[in-house]
Subunit: 464 residues, 2 copies
């Protein structure tokens, strides 16, 4: 079947697709909520049934210490063909605040070419899209040129707490050449993209202690170091007036952007004026010499995520506080290492802290940055598939946030990850009125179906 | 009667004094608490009765829009004699936390030469001391060589909210040459002192706004100015590495310490090592070139009294906050003006704020610094009286905090204020187990009685 025929077939199935997806979206599989544990399990059962229905074999619901994992595969392409592991999740975020939803979050509704429901785009809609792509191969084309394994977990929204253990225990069952994930967004609507880089994270907490108790600022102010003043000095000294981070050795392992990458960044549609207007900021800020897109995805950053100390109520209380705190996180880029950065951060903060206060630094959380080689066959196949389905060459982009599971797959399965998502950041994932644009669902089904075909066709080519 | 005879008389009255003071202390006159409003009124009635009992005339309870004022006078010294207005307050602080009191706060108890109760030192004990000093003149010596007016209010602990109006309405009735206040502490036990200077206050709030909503620090971090980072830069820039305040023009009106004052400071007993040990600080901090006592009372200071913004709960939330706030207060010294300093502060903060955020500065509260001429006859009389009663020449000291009523009296009555307090900062005013050292009560009665005698004797002298 050629692409036109596939497209026509998908068009004919739209009513069925929507009805099936609605069934999936009706199940309130909120993983964080103990009173929805049974709904989460029912969702796994629905998914196992759906996996069998699209032709997957060896479908199983694997229990974990938390919510179950659904697995299925279709391995008929032979040993020479590549094996793709598709990963997604069937659990969803909570729905608060309920009053901001136009329709109830578990009563899926189609309006203006979009389907509204909790989980519509994150990630049930995109999991459904992959299942329908496989269905096309197993039921319509009747040939799947690669071996496919499907792994859908129920704990992504609560940090994939039991996934690592599961991956390690089922290493053989899950072994793959490429991991495919559809849980990210495109650069913008009508701007298809493949994400090849994610920033890491190093999240620290600083506690500054002055006197052993809150003091009267009239009686002691002027002679006793104020931990809030000291904290401000410490935080201010973490960056310079060029927006660079001043921690010694901080940039040691940063891989500079290549000319090619910077060229790619420049070609991305970005309207600085609109960006500022939408955020209501006078101008952007940050590291001198880099563009907004570079600064938010390919360069490290340092943000005070929270700070507190002393009197924070109404009016004026003249306290010289005993303690002041800040949470500070740094977004990291390849090849920075969170442990190394945490160590350098702590050393520097202790060094610059005034000797008249005591300071304690704690590392709260960390995650490594990741970059996927853009010349990998997986990414090249995804690029070709997206180009055909969306009618445009997709951009290669990097994202500013972290997706810890990407590293998990690369580390444990030793397989490169392809992030082929077709959601949009404007579709309110994690917020009221979450939705998924149906044209992107249909194009995504086509792109996913083509991905397997393209991967098979270039797998033995020397070109990549 | 000579001093020895007075001392002996006071000694003989100790049992009676304690019984009478206990009556006063048993009344739970907590001015901030509506359910104690009746107790406050009963306390005013008790006080009016006690004022009459010590021989005061024209005793009246004046209602205000809040708690009443008790007034009485004894004007028999003639037009050539000076008139002293004694001011004190009969209301007390709340008693929380109750479980930290050894005995209930309104069941006065004597232990180890101290009387324990809420209000024992602040200010019922010191008001009682003044009444007993007057009693000595009216009932024992049978002569009061100065004219005395007594004004005891019931709202000091809630900011003397209706006192200004009362002073303005009763200007003629309250007219005086000197105002005497016993509501402060001595420098230390066995170190009598008269306070002649108080710092002023300029209390500001800064609000820094970045983006119009909290953002994901992964997605936006690096390009969007973080208001918490910006706030830290602003706060850090308010002082330099020599502990000086960097606001342009901040020191313009500061009167430098005289050599004589610095000599006086040096002679005060201060143990820096003990000071640091008690506060558990590695060392003191602050303006280069000044001693701890100078820095906390005769030099201005700048303290962050509170700061907040972003995520302040447990763990790691990667938010780039929309707003961050700080409360900053400056202690002022003569002749700094709070309005002028507020204006300079705002101008400077707006100027140093990064152009990528918006900043709003508000003045919350202000009070002028005050200095009483130490060569005034009132202070000289108090010095002589204290020296005789405590057996040591008192120190002339300045205090770091503010007492707004001092300015009120100086401004409205145009009379210099004498701060002759015999409390101790270690006697837990405002805290559980408040107490008053009885030997200081007795010496204080003597000192107060002698004050009137000394003032009369030097009033027409040219020496002062």
């Amino acid at each position: 079947m050629d692409n036109a025929a596939l497209q026509q077939y998908i068009e004919q199935q739209q009513t069925r697709y929507i009805e099936e997806l609605k069934e999936f979206l009706r199940i309130s599989s909120i993983s964080t909520s103990p009173q929805h544990a049974n709904d989460v399990y029912q969702c796994a059962e629905w998914l196992a049934h759906a996996a069998k229905a699209v032709g997957l074999e060896n479908v199983q619901i694997f229990p974990t210490e938390g919510h179950p994992v659904v697995y299925g595969d279709y391995i008929h392409a032979g040993d020479n063909a590549p094996t793709v592991l598709f990963y997604g999740h069937y659990d969803v975020q909570p729905t608060d605040p309920l009053n901001l939803w136009t329709n109830p979050p578990f009563e899926p509704t189609v309006r203006d070419g979009k389907i509204y429901a909790r989980g519509a785009v994150d990630d049930k809609g995109q999991v459904f899209m992959q299942l329908k792509a496989l269905e096309i191969h197993t039921k319509v084309i009747r040939e799947l040129p690669v071996n496919v394994k499907v792994l859908i977990e129920g704990e992504e929204e609560i940090g994939s707490v039991h996934l690592e253990k599961f991956l390690r225990e089922k290493l053989h069952m899950l072994a793959a050449d490429t991991v495919l994930i559809s849980d990210t967004a495109m650069f913008a609507d009508e701007v298809p993209s493949i994400c090849y880089g994610l920033r890491g994270l190093c999240y620290m907490e600083i506690e500054v202690t002055g006197p052993n108790r809150d003091l009267h600022s009239g009686v002691f102010g002027g002679a006793v170091a104020n931990p809030a003043n000291a904290l401000a000095k410490i935080l201010a000294a973490l960056t310079d007036s060029y927006g660079r981070i001043t921690i010694p050795g901080f940039y040691d392992d940063v891989i500079p952007l290549t000319d090619e990458e910077r060229e790619q960044y420049r070609s991305l549609p970005h309207n600085e004026e609109e960006y500022c207007r939408e955020l209501e900021i006078p101008a952007t800020d940050g590291e001198f010499g880099y563009s907004t897109l570079e600064k938010t995805s390919a360069r490290p950053s340092l943000d005070v995520n929270g700070l507190w100390g002393g009197y924070t109520g109404e009016g004026a209380k003249t306290v010289l506080p005993s303690k002041a705190y800040a949470k500070v996180s740094m977004r990291l880029v390849p090849n920075q290492n969170p442990q190394d950065i945490a160590h350098k951060f702590e050393k520097y903060v202790v060094q610059i802290a005034p000797p008249t206060v005591r300071v304690r630094v704690r590392a709260l959380h960390g995650g490594r940055p990741v970059i996927t080689p853009t010349r990998s066959k997986g990414i090249q196949a995804a690029m070709r598939a997206m180009e055909q389905a969306f009618g445009k060459k997709p951009f290669l982009t990097r994202e500013g946030g972290s997706i810890p599971i990407v590293l998990l797959f690369q580390d444990i399965l030793n397989a490169p990850v392809v992030l082929m998502g077709v959601g949009l950041n404007t579709e309110n994932p994690h917020s009221p009125d979450e939705h998924f644009t149906l044209k992107n669902l249909y194009r995504g089904i086509l792109a996913s179906a083509l991905f397997y075909k393209e991967l098979a066709s270039i797998w033995h080519s020397d070109k990549y």
